[in-house]
Point group: C2
Chain length 186, copies 2
DNA sequence: CCTGAAGACTTCAGCCCTAAAGTTCGAAGC
DNA sequence: GCTTCGAACTTTAGGGCTGAAGTCTTCAGG
């Protein structure tokens, strides 16, 4: 068994605190307060996506499929949207949506049909099975989310929600374009 | 020009408030306070990744490459890590790292060489050019980040950082495994 | 009516990632 | 010192995504 002897190989995963200290060391003009917020946001989201991925996997689907179900449910009854609109809301290209819908239609989560009133358009509609899958995913997700926020008091939760919403408003105003492609995700 | 007449086609991008209202309508057992925090986190991170992607693109690289540079800088001088270690820190498979390093070595951002003391291992080392790229990216990123938090007072920033760090600690303790694959990213 | 222009979706080529097998080297036992 | 096991990385096959080109439909004009 190779010893952990060598210098370069393994230098322990940096904690958030170590990460910020390292950034300050390497980049003088850094506001540690800002960096703590930003780095925590990034790491938190990464972990959350991993957790969601595990949950959706137990339901036999991917996060990608879950996103589509979410968008359709959010559209409200009768749970219909076109591929282009879906693509815009998920931040994907229409081409990607075409394939995703193919797969989900094969699995029975959605149906795809031409709009009779305008035969250029296509209507993607949630099936009962798709809606049921969404509900199951929500039940899992809310348990995880409640657990995540467990240590926060009601006041803290409210304050956190308000502050994050302010930040979000600031970014969304600056990038009014709803569907900027997210070149990379992590 | 097709009129917006049709019912199904375009139902306006939901705002965060509308999204939460819709979730409550469709899923009774929902704590709106929790959902506001979680949904804001997700949307915020998506927007941030889009913004970072645009910035790194102006420097002629992708967010993926930027992540590698970050990990190497965080490792500290002499800015060396093995492919496996990098993969673990970025949440990728070793196979993906192999190819990423190929590309980055071709672009001169890193070098790849065998460890002389243990010829199974490979050492990826940041080049001066890579370090310079990282600095440029940091300069852009900090401007964006400072702008993002502009509306927050110093106290608010500190509080936000502390609360997020507590949440992060909770998830990281629950998923001690540093490199869970993030099956999907958005 | 026929034609041209624009919109909505799909198809195609190429890139990057995952999962699984393959290769190479180092460490331990006989 | 030879063999076997295990570790670290690379290679291969297949899937999902982007960007660009292609198809089909609708609308406006002559």
């Amino acid at each position: 068994m190779p010893e952990p002897s060598d210098a370069a190989a393994d230098a322990a995963e940096p904690s958030l605190e170590e990460q910020i200290a390292a950034y300050q060391r390497e980049f003088q003009d850094l506001d540690p307060q800002v960096e703590q917020v930003v780095s925590a946001l990034q790491r938190l989201n990464r972990r959350m996506n991993v957790a969601y991925g595990r949950q959706t996997a137990t339901l036999g689907m991917s996060n990608a499929e879950w996103e589509v179900l979410k968008a359709l449910v959010l559209a409200g009854a009768p749970y219909r949207l076109g591929p282009g609109e879906l693509a815009k809301r998920l931040g994907l290209t229409p081409a990607a949506m075409t394939h995703r819908i193919d797969r989900m239609a094969n699995e029975g989560l959605v149906t795809r049909e031409r709009d009779e009133n305008n035969r250029v358009r296509v209507i993607v509609e949630l099936t009962d099975e798709g809606r049921e899958k969404w509900l199951e995913a929500m039940r899992l997700a809310t348990v995880f989310e409640e657990d995540l926020l467990q240590d926060l008091s009601g006041d803290e939760r409210q304050l956190l929600g308000q502050v994050l919403t302010r930040l979000l408003r600031r970014v969304e105003d600056a990038q009014p374009d709803a569907g900027g492609r997210l070149s990379d995700l992590d």
